[in-house]
């Protein structure tokens, strides 16, 4: 491969990673924007999502690397798997909020954050103990269609991941900006107290944020499986941390910021892996996290999250 083709290839890889991180980062941003809570359980909601997607695809008879379905049936199955996964992780997120976080909503200090670490641990270990520690093959139902662009290769699944991610993010942006509930969310993020006095049902807003964020994480989990052809109980932690970095980079609390931040982190990961060394990628990403938090806590595009007094 020529140097420019190599670069282009890493950009393509980075965009696919970035799509996943963006989807995941949106969940951090939605919850943080409203509750000022770093939700560590989100890491493993994503991981659970990839398992649910795997199970659903297996339920439809898809497993391994064989292309069994094509055309509309394939799209139908993929769509169903995506919807079921998003619904399931969305409900998981709502359950986490309802039973472990709502009772702690107004408790000061790091209590709620510690709780989310506990939840994350529980999810992680439930999957580990029930599914096992070994890596699982994720079904690869898509036909191997490739395009050559300037010496680099773009695969059908990558295009699919970009397209669906973009659609989901646009839908989210539309929802937050235009719908009644979205308006309530933005109001609550600005000032929960005032929003409640104006008749916003804060509980509903919080549940919506958890549902949407977790559903997007589920979609991200499914894309992870499709992209890497495997899933494992371990995938939540690194992906989660990178996605969180993405949310911070874009400006935590900001929906477009999370999207852009995710893509940037994806590009940084793939390019630094190519031109520096894969083993230093995480050090670079976490150094960015630290630097951004220290020097520009509002992120590149973000507003400062409203501070609770």
């Amino acid at each position: 491969m020529t140097p420019s083709a190599l670069f282009l290839q890493q950009v393509i890889n980075g965009l696919s990673l970035g799509a996943m991180y963006s989807l995941l980062a949106l969940g951090f941003t939605l919850v943080y924007g409203i509750l000022e809570l770093i939700n560590f359980s989100h890491f493993n909601v994503f991981m659970v999502g990839s398992f649910i997607a795997m199970w659903v695809l297996q339920f439809f008879g898809l497993s391994g690397q064989q292309v069994i379905l094509t055309g509309w049936p394939l799209l139908g199955v993929l769509g169903a798997a995506l919807l079921i996964t998003m619904l399931a992780t969305g409900l998981l997120g709502v359950g986490i909020e309802r039973f472990s976080l709502r009772p702690l909503r107004n408790v000061p200090g790091p209590v709620a954050m510690i709780t989310t670490i506990g939840i994350s641990y529980i999810l992680f270990n439930v999957i580990l103990l029930t599914v096992g520690a070994e890596t699982k093959n994720f079904p690869n139902p898509l036909p191997m269609v490739k395009w050559h662009v300037g010496g680099a290769v773009v695969e059908l699944r990558e295009v699919l991941i970009w397209a669906i991610s973009l659609v989901l993010m646009l839908l989210l942006q539309f929802f937050v900006q235009r719908s009644r509930l979205g308006k309530a969310m933005r109001a609550t993020a600005q000032d929960p107290e005032a929003a409640r006095m104006m008749g916003v049902e804060v509980d509903r807003v919080v549940i919506t944020a958890f549902f949407l964020g977790s559903a997007l994480a589920g979609a991200g989990g499914m894309f992870f499986g499709l992209y890497y052809n495997f899933t494992s109980f371990l995938i939540g932690y690194t992906a989660g941390l990178r996605a969180f970095t993405a949310a911070v980079l874009g400006g935590i609390g900001s929906v477009p910021g999370a999207m852009v931040g995710g893509v940037m982190i994806g590009l940084i990961e793939s390019l630094s892996g190519q031109y520096i060394a894969v083993r230093w990628s995480d050090v670079i990403i976490f150094s960015i996290l630290v630097l951004i938090l220290v020097f520009r806590p509002a992120g590149l595009f973000g507003r400062l999250a409203p501070t609770k007094s």
Partner: protein, 669 residues
């Protein structure tokens, strides 16, 4: 001098109960220590002694994390990084990992016994032979140094951001360790770390001597933790945990105090790392990953955040769970499985479930028992009926000569503000405000809500920086000075919406107010030198003196957490806390808000008495009778501008003032 002084001893709680409790505590400590010393003799089983020694190293880590999370309220999710740093510091300096070629410049270290000249093939190389006993404190210092390095840029972040940054560092350190093979031997890990030597005997692989070193370290770190907790330093940590802004305004240097907590916690972890590696004689990067940080956090949460004995118990319990209880239980279940012929039961491996159990413990404790198994703070007994219904006595001011104001020269200029402007985005909160306060006076600032009064206070006390203008206090320019330095210069304040440290007692709140007048540093706090003892005793006497201003309103409640106090009493504690810092200028932000007429009158008299002792006061107040009674001069703010200034009577008749209060379009009848 006011004639309000009265004896107060009758209100202090009976001393018997606390000394009896102390005796019981001492007896308990001795019993636990005796058991710990006899344990290896009683058990006689190397594997169990080894588990106990491991448990002790986790107890040490929990004690360190407790200082950071429990005392100072800083959630550190990368704590294991410091454990790793301490471990590798000893591991590298006492193994064959690094063997630079020998040169004469190593000779001084060789004569100290820190390195040895060794022939490898036919080349002379340096072999590091740092002693375990030297490295124990040294690793603590190295890790503390890294704590400062990591902490310095990050500690000004809000709590939840700090958690994520520490998590990032916690990731970076093991990755660096794994990738920097020349220094650390990478993923394979350090090997052949020297065992400690004592009187010429190597500890070898016998678990018992390690166990006793572990006990010794645990006793040491418990001692250090308790000494720090009960000192000026510990109070500052807890004040920051409870309300960082208020702590800052009370004269606590936030960054330094937080950094100290971070460094001490890191130091504990560094020492533990050395101990752990000496015992294991190997170190791999995986020993220090995120799971370790979480496990230590679970121990601290289980035992009780901020509870020294609690976290030790928490660490012991979890270690017992992992190394004894779960394997035993697995064995029993397998036996049951064999008895009933169930293959499912025989394949159960509970040891794998330990992390699941950690998660469940974390969530359960947070939801149902946030104080942990052994809460840091015991319930204070409720006041007796007699105490509650004791006749309300006016306080007296007897020894307040120690106020900074005592040195004041009445009549000179104390506070001069020139053209202060403060903007929030497009909103101008203060527009070129001038103000002057003569030493010994009471100056009242009034104005409708939102006129910029509290912003003015924040700008004077350094909580927010003015965009323009200057502030001179006692001849010194204090514009833009950090809040704790303004307090040290002699300006103390209260807040409109009461910002006390709710979990701290009345006495502790007032002692925090004295923070900037006390000197004790961490080392002296641990050693509790005679000077520190005297300082602490005097601080308590001064606190009692200050609280005496309010008669028996507060003195019987010295050891009650302030969140249990009535609204008016909380206001009084806040004033006492401000006065405790021996200010020359006291800023009171609506001190009588929410008080009934009798209480208002009482407080107004007390403020007047303080002023007659020489204390200058800047007062924000809505109750105009209080203003009239106290203030010689009144300044009126409206929409951030000074619209009038003069005696209370003049201001009352000022047309502009009336319009500001009654509305612009309304003609005053």
């Amino acid at each position: 001098m006011d004639t309000l002084a009265e004896p107060r001893q009758t209100d202090t709680p009976p001393p018997g109960s606390s000394s009896r409790r102390r005796a019981a505590e001492a007896a308990g400590t001795v019993a636990v220590f005796a058991f710990a010393m006899l344990f290896p003799v009683l058990i006689q089983n190397q594997a169990d002694i080894d588990s106990a020694a491991n448990a002790l190293s986790y107890a040490l880590l929990a004690l360190g994390l407790n200082i950071v999370v429990g005392f100072a309220g800083l959630l550190d999710l990368g704590y294991a990084a410091f454990f790793a740093i301490g471990a590798y510091a000893y591991g590298i300096l006492s193994s064959w990992q690094l063997t630079p070629p020998w040169s004469a410049s190593w000779q001084p270290l060789a004569s100290l016994g820190l390195v040895a000249r060794v022939m490898q093939g036919n080349a002379a190389v340096v072999h590091f032979t740092f002693s375990f006993w030297l490295m124990l404190p040294l690793s603590g210092l190295i890790a503390a140094g890294f704590g400062v390095l990591f902490g310095a840029p990050t500690l000004r972040l809000k709590g939840d951001y700090l958690a994520i940054v520490t998590l990032g560092f916690g990731e970076i350190v093991p990755i660096v360790v794994r990738n920097w093979s020349s220094l650390t031997n990478g993923a394979a890990g350090l090997n052949g770390v020297a065992a400690p030597m004592l009187f010429g005997h190597s500890f070898g692989i016998d678990a018992t001597p390690y166990y006793y070193v572990g006990v010794g370290l645990t006793v040491l770190l418990i001692f250090v933790s308790i000494r720090l907790r009960d000192s000026r330093i510990g109070r500052a940590w807890m004040a920051i945990r409870e309300d960082e802004v208020a702590a800052h305004a009370m004269g606590i240097d936030r960054t330094r105090t937080k950094l100290l907590a971070f460094a001490v916690g890191a130091g504990f972890a560094g020492m533990t790392g050395t101990y752990y590696v000496a015992k294991l004689q190997t170190a791999t990067p995986d020993m220090f990953n995120f799971n370790v940080s979480v496990m230590i956090l679970v121990m601290v949460v289980l035992g009780g955040l901020g509870s020294v004995w609690g976290v030790v118990v928490g660490a012991m319990l979890l270690q017992l769970l992992q190394s004894w209880f779960l394997p035993d239980l697995t064995g029993w279940i397998h036996a049951l499985g064999r008895a009933v012929g169930s293959a499912g039961l025989q394949s159960v491996q509970l040891a794998q479930a330990s992390e699941l159990i950690f998660g469940i413990i974390l969530v359960t404790m947070m939801l149902y028992r946030r104080d942990g198994l052994i809460p840091a703070r015991r319930r204070t007994p409720a006041l007796s009926l007699a105490q509650q219904h004791a006749e309300v006595r006016r306080g007296g001011i007897t020894g307040l000569g120690a106020l900074g104001a005592a040195a004041a020269v009445p009549g000179g200029p104390l506070l001069e503000i020139h053209g202060i402007t403060k903007r929030f985005g497009g909103l101008v909160a203060l527009k070129s405000v001038d103000l002057a306060l003569t030493e010994g006076d009471i100056l009242a600032v009034i104005g409708p809500n939102g006129s910029g009064k509290s912003t003015l206070f924040n700008v004077i006390t350094g909580l927010s920086k003015p965009d323009d203008g200057g502030i001179v206090f006692a001849g010194r320019d204090i514009t833009g000075l950090a809040a704790h330095l303004v307090t040290r210069a002699g300006v103390a304040r209260t807040f409109q919406n009461i910002r006390l440290f709710p979990e701290l007692t009345v006495l502790e709140n007032v002692l925090v107010g004295e923070h900037c007048r006390l000197r004790t540093g961490p080392l002296r706090a641990v050693l509790r030198t005679p000077g520190t003892r005297r300082e602490e005793r005097e601080a308590r006497e001064w606190a009692a003196e200050v609280l005496g201003i309010f008669g028996n309103r507060l003195l019987p409640r010295l050891s009650q957490p302030v969140r249990e106090l009535s609204y008016a009493n909380r206001r009084r504690v806040e004033i006492a806390r401000a006065i405790a810092s021996r200010p020359r200028l006291l800023l009171l932000d609506e001190p009588t808000a929410g008080m009934n007429p009798a209480e208002t009158l009482e407080l107004a008299e007390q403020i007047g008495s303080l002023n007659r002792l020489g204390l200058s006061i800047l007062l924000i107040e809505h109750k105009l009778d209080v203003v009239t009674q106290l203030a010689g001069k009144v300044v009126v703010l409206d929409h951030g501008e000074k619209i009038a200034e003069g005696s209370p009577r003049e201001v009352r008749q000022n047309e502009q003032v009336l319009r500001a209060y009654l509305g612009r379009s309304t003609q005053v009848a």
